[in-house]
Symmetry: C2
DNA sequence: AAATATTGCGCAATCG
DNA sequence: GCGATTGCGCAATATT
């Protein structure tokens, strides 16, 4: 819909639409190894969230900065605003830091308690900001408090877990295909280079012959001896 | 160690060694757009565990088995498998699955309890099987009981977390580079195809000219009129 | 509005 | 023992 300046804006991946590929193949029937390529294309998420390389949260400033510099190519990071700010991490990391994006202190106080609060933290901190980024101080609103350990909760979790697995599987396959595609393209490329070499040589030969003929024609007048 | 039928087996990715690429570029100076490619190569984990698609632990029985079925085919074949005409759904189905790889029962009884046992579950169930898959009923062995919430534990966790972030960042970059590489290769490919087209045409022209001359030479005897 | 898909994160098991 | 990887589940988002 509205894909302006707001916050979230996705970019379609310029996946070589089938047309493209076809054109490419149509050019010269020779040397068409493609095959993985086709699969590759189909395996891409048409909308392409992809790579969200702007964690914002964790690694953004320091070393990871590389991303933002050259990532804008394929997809466009975007989206990174205030995602998983779940715990308190956010703040710290937003401050910009290198890898140790996680001041141990932060985790120290919370996690030291045990494993349970993991969820808690998540839920709480998020609830507040979700509305409109307004510092509305409504802290433990409890909102819908999806009541942990409720049957419904578990159901939801389970479904999400399945979805996650599925999604990751898909991602893995996609990556694999991309790799295969790259390899294949490279092979194809080599063959093409080779072909070009042949053609060029052949061309040179003919040109040479022609030039010779021309010279002869000019010098000897009109006696095409070589053109037997 | 023992990498037989057991459980874990990794496969090396046959990343095109830099030599390959060099050869390729050396062939013909023309049309070499490469640039990302170089980065791409360097970003690959030389050891390449890759995809460890054999969880073994958690999701081993049910649907997750899909992995082991087609993922181990890193590069070679794999081609004709899916070819989903439209969406990805097709693919999935072709792959034969049914995602709920995780008999809900398993998670059901344990997780319903709460959030804390998350770790517990992991640890426990793992400890038992890790030895040799033997149903040795030693349940709460406690082993070294790395004493949760211990300072040392936290330290370890924290370090691992950092490592994980780093690793994932790396992975993301790698994937990105692969994609870019693929795109670049494809562009290059198109140019090469185009070049081949040109050369071919040029060649045809010259051949035609030569054949014409030849004919003339034969028919008109030795009067090279065209060879002015 | 609800369901599903993606993604970053931390945990734990391994690998090297 | 230690860092690097990887699968997993969780929670926040994004998309459908």
């Amino acid at each position: 819909m509205k894909a302006h300046p707001p916050i979230l804006l996705y970019e379609l991946i310029n996946l070589p639409s089938s047309e493209n590929r076809n054109v490419l193949w149509a050019t010269t029937p020779i040397l068409c190894v493609s095959s993985v390529i086709q699969e590759w294309a189909s395996s891409y998420p048409s909308q392409a969230h992809t790579l969200n390389l702007n964690p914002v949260i964790s690694t953004q400033a320091g070393s990871t900065s590389q991303h933002s510099q050259m990532d804008m190519i394929p997809y466009s990071q975007s989206q990174g605003i205030m995602r998983g700010p779940s715990e308190d991490r956010v703040a710290e990391q937003m401050m910009g830091l290198s890898y140790p994006p996680y001041s141990p202190s932060c985790l120290g106080n919370t996690s030291t308690a045990g494993s349970t609060n993991h969820h808690q933290n998540h839920a709480d901190s998020q609830q507040d900001f979700s509305p409109f980024l307004l510092p509305s101080l409504r802290a433990p609103v409890t909102k819908r408090s999806i009541s942990k350990d409720s049957a419904e909760y578990r159901l939801r979790r389970e479904r999400n877990n399945i979805a996650v697995r599925k999604s990751r599987d898909k991602a893995r396959r996609r990556i694999l295909l991309t790799q295969q595609r790259a390899v294949q393209l490279q092979e194809e490329n080599q063959k093409l280079q080779m072909r070009i070499g042949q053609l060029t040589q052949e061309l040179d030969t003919l040109k040479h012959i022609l030039s010779q003929q021309h010279l002869q024609g000019v010098e000897e007048g009109a006696t095409g001896e070589l053109s037997i």
